[in-house]
Symmetry: C2
Subunit: 184 residues, 2 copies
Amino acid sequence: MPSTKESIIHLADEFIRSRGYTAFSYADISKPLGIKNAAVHYHYPSKSDLAVALVEWHIDHFERFKEKNESKSPADQIKTFLNFYHSIHLSGKVCLIGAFSTDWNSINEDTQGLLRTFTNLVIDWLSEVLQKGLDTGAFNFANAPRAEALRVLTNIFAAAQLSRITDSQDFILVKESIIRELTK
Amino acid sequence: MPSTKESIIHLADEFIRSRGYTAFSYADISKPLGIKNAAVHYHYPSKSDLAVALVEWHIDHFERFKEKNESKSPADQIKTFLNFYHSIHLSGKVCLIGAFSTDWNSINEDTQGLLRTFTNLVIDWLSEVLQKGLDTGAFNFANAPRAEALRVLTNIFAAAQLSRITDSQDFILVKESIIRELTK
DNA sequence: ATGAATACTTATTTATAAGTAAGGTACTTA
DNA sequence: TAAGTACCTTACTTATAAATAAGTATTCAT
C-alpha cells in the first residue's frame, strides 16, 4: 500500500501529464486521497517542491528502466522505449519532458535544472543504444548519435502530443516509421 | 496601428505559446495595453472565446503562408516551413500545436475542434509538398506522405520544445538532419 | 440634435489558489 | 512516563482569476 507521500507524487504525475503544471491545484490532489490540502503542504510545502520531487522520481524510474533493459539488444531496447511511449499515448497523457517543456516558464529554476538533467539522461541513453545498434549492424543511420537520438525522441514524444489532437492512427504511423527507418 | 482587439490576440498568442493557456490571465493582457480586464472581456467575453479566436487567427495565417509560398519548389517550401519554426525557437516559445496539445484537457470543445482542423491543415499541406518533392526527385523517402509529414512536423515542433530544456544546439541538429534526410 | 452603437471604466461578485499558524492524536524512544 | 516526532486537521490569510452589471465617453448615422 503506497504511503500518502507516494500517492501525492502519483497524482501530481497524473495531473501534470494530463492537464499541465499550472492547471492543477493541491485541492485536486487532497480530495481523491480524502485528506485536507494542508496535509499535502505538510509533505510538499510548495508546489515547486512537488515538481522537483516528481522529476526526481522520473530520474530514479529511468535509471531502473536502464538497468532492467541493459542486457537486451539495441533493437529491443528501442522497442521497449517506444512501447513505453505507446502506453503514454494510450493513457491520453503526454510525457514529463513534453509537459514541462511547454510549462517551462511556469516552473522554478530547481525544477528546470533537474528536468535538464533528466532530459539529457534520456538523450545520452538513446545515443548510446543507437550507436551500439549501428556498431552491430542492427541499425542504419547517417546522423551523429545525438542527432539521431534527438530525432527519435522528438518524434515519439511529439507523436504522443499530436495524436491527442488528431485522434487518429498518427501515433502508430510515427512509431512504426521510426522502427522501419532505423532498421532499413 | 493595431486595434485593441488585434493587440489582445497578439498578446494572448505570446502568453499561450510562452507560458501556456492556464498560466495567463486577462490581467496579464490588460496591463500592458493600459486597459482594464473588463475591456478584454468586452472583446472576448470568455477565455475560451479568446482561445477560439487565436486558433482562427492561426488558420488564416497559415492559409496566407500557403498562398505566399505556393510557387516555390518543394525543397524551398519545406525550408521556409522549418525556418518559421526556427524563429519560434529563437523567440523561446513553442508553436500553437505544441502549446495546446499539452493544454488539451484545459481547453473547451470548440477550441479542440478548431485546433484539430488547423493541425490537419498543416499535416495535409506538408503531405502534399513532400509528395510533390518525391515526384520531382527533390526528396527521397519510403514512408507514406502523411507518415513522412508527421515525422517532419513532430521533429520540428518537439525540437522547439526540447531545446528550451537542453538549451543547446539541439534545435539546429534536428532541423539540419530533417533537410539532410529528405534530400539524401 | 439625437439616438444608437462602440469601446471602454468602475465596481463588484464568486470562486479558487497557494500557503501558513496552531492544535490534536498516536506512536515511539530515552 | 515524558518528550519527541510524524502526520494529520481546523481555520485562516492573502492573492488572484474569470466574469458581469451598470455607467460613461465618443463617434456616427439620421
